[in-house]
């Protein structure tokens, strides 16, 4: 099914995008729905974007549910391991 569910947030950072060029990302969206490319009926999809530069300014991820959960856990571990005084911004 198309779940229609989309969760969004603003973000601050950079991503390497179309044409191999870095760009500033300002927005993120996450949704569990049909992928475009991944070989699964549904995936956890993440878009990191700069909408001011048009729809093509986007990094797209399509991860199976278990892969997405492992990535979340991995990110959490990396953040937890970093000293609080370094977490600025």
């Amino acid at each position: 099914m198309c779940t229609y569910i989309t969760v969004t947030t603003d973000v601050e950072g950079s991503a390497k995008g179309p044409g191999g060029k870095w760009f500033r990302v300002t927005d993120a969206a996450a949704y569990y729905d049909h992928p475009v490319h991944a070989m699964a009926e549904h995936t956890l999809n993440v878009d990191l974007t700069d909408p001011s530069a048009g729809p093509g300014q986007r990094i797209a991820l399509e991860l199976t549910a278990s892969s997405a959960q492992r990535l979340i856990d991995t990110i959490q571990q990396a953040l937890d391991a970093a000293p609080d005084e370094l977490k600025v911004g």
Binding site: M1, I5, H34, P55
Partner: protein, 249 residues
């Protein structure tokens, strides 16, 4: 029926009821015979190659077929997946806009030189819901819903959806409906399909449903793991028969 399989496919531009420029993909059979038209509604992932292949298939079957890019306003000219992501992040497209764009597409088809005046609509997945939605408002002669979720069924209260079901609109359904579903699908489930069947039967609305064993959601999608050759082949045959019955000259 198209007597040859020669066809012409191209991009056209429509003007929406709000004045917006709407890109659309048009495929027409070569030949002089009068024919019906088919509006193909693309799925949530956008105005993509797989949808355009379906448009060409309808021309090969003998129909003028047209797929409006529902994301033309928000992301003109963008890659389909980028457009879908942008529209999704912005909250999707309103139902009213969908209905208006289908009406615009249907009018374009009826204005083509060999139109017989009849126009059907078909959609898959989110497009299945959209097809039924359009047929509750627009002047259409046949509608095909391929596993559209939330035609019936009520999402859980904590489910963050931007869509509502179409139950309140179903008394307005103005065209015969062919519904094609997979028995392993959860949205729409067989309970959702049964609910739709009951509502349409009670309302005296002509409809024919088929639910396939060993098929889930998106069984027509040739480029996805959900593809089911058995269900898709049978489904295409039923679509051919249905449109021939309702859109024929």
């Amino acid at each position: 029926m198209n007597m040859s399989d020669s066809l012409h496919a191209t991009t056209v531009h429509l003007t929406g009821t709000d004045g917006a420029d709407i890109e659309a993909y048009l495929a027409t059979p070569d030949g002089e015979e009068r024919r019906g038209g088919v509006v193909v509604i693309h799925h949530l992932p956008g105005y993509d190659r797989a949808t355009k292949e379906m448009v060409r298939r309808f021309a090969e079957l003998g129909y003028d077929a047209l797929c409006p890019n529902l994301y033309s306003r928000q992301a003109p000219g963008a890659d389909p997946s980028d457009a879908a992501a942008a529209v999704r992040a912005a909250g999707g497209i309103p139902d009213e806009q969908l209905v208006a764009d289908v009406e615009t597409a249907a009018a374009h088809l009826r204005g083509l030189p060999r139109s017989n005046g009849k126009v059907g609509v078909i959609g898959h997945c989110s497009g299945g819901r959209h097809a039924v939605l359009a047929a509750c408002h627009a002047d259409l002669d046949a509608v095909v819903d391929c596993y559209g979720a939330f035609v019936t069924g009520t999402p859980a209260a904590d489910y963050p959806l931007n869509v509502t079901n179409l139950v309140p609109l179903l008394p307005q359904l103005r065209a015969p409906l062919l519904g094609l579903f997979g028995k392993n699908d959860k949205f729409p489930s067989q309970d959702h399909v049964a609910e739709l069947d009951e509502i349409l039967t009670a309302g005296g609305k002509p409809h024919t449903f088929f639910s396939y064993d060993d098929a889930g959601h998106a069984f027509f999608s040739v480029d996805r793991p959900s593809y089911s050759v058995k269900a898709a082949n049978d489904g295409w045959e039923r679509i051919e028969t249905f449109f021939a019955d309702h859109l024929g000259a």
